[in-house]
């Protein structure tokens, strides 16, 4: 069976589900950020696949913007984690309760 659009979409769905599980289940904040990156990458695969199989180049332009936002998010997120680690000596997401009411 030749590889078609559905194969890329299902691969992207599998990667997104893995990232979703990591975001919800993990306690280490750095691993949660890594899972978010996996989810963003999965969405990018969907964009590129649709762009190729319908020959609309806008999909690839959007992927560039998603990459920009992902880089900014990783920089700010990791800076936040390091700042919280300095004040609380932990990166356990279940112990980040300083904004809990």
């Amino acid at each position: 069976m030749a590889v078609g659009l559905e194969h890329f979409l299902i691969l992207s769905a599998v990667l997104f589900a893995i990232g979703l599980y990591g975001v919800l289940a993990k306690r280490n904040a750095v691993v949660i950020l890594m899972s978010i990156e996996i989810m963003l990458t999965a969405v990018n695969i969907t964009m590129v696949a649709f762009s190729r199989y319908s020959h609309v180049i806008s999909g690839q332009v959007f992927v560039i913007f998603i990459m920009v936002v992902a880089a900014a998010e990783a920089a700010v997120g990791l800076a936040l984690i390091i700042a919280i680690y300095r004040s609380r000596k932990t990166v356990d997401a279940e112990k980040f309760d300083l904004m809990k009411w």
Partner: protein, 164 residues
Amino acid sequence: MMGLDIAFWVLAVVSVGAALAVVLTRDIFRAALFLVLCFFTVAGIYITLSADFLAGAQVLIYVGAIGVLIIFAIMLTRESRRGSPSGRLRLPALFIGLLFLVTMVFVVVSTDWYVIAELPTEPTTTAIAQALFSGEDGFVLAFEIAAALLLAAIIGAIVLVREK
């Protein structure tokens, strides 16, 4: 096309395996290395989709910048000896992930997607640049906002981690 199919299956299996290793390994440093492997294989998948510019950008941004950033953060927070344990929400998270996966596979398989008959294989860099900067329906304003966003993110990251 046979070689492309084989390449797709190899890259898909390796990327899914690496992503699973990221969320399942106890050693957080190894998880970061598996994440870099996952990004590399996704760059290969872009090549099988004949998106050459994005494959290069993927290697530069994800493998180069974000990979190094995450490894730096792991070393600075020194939590690697405690591993990456799962929280209380492990079983609900597994359930939600599987539910999402089953829904998506069902939707993808049962939808009749619009696919053009003849797939083009020309380079995409010029086409992306023209779509990005063309006058009528380009993305010039979004491009400028992306530059401002990156600047704001850099300054924000510096302010957040600066020693008091």
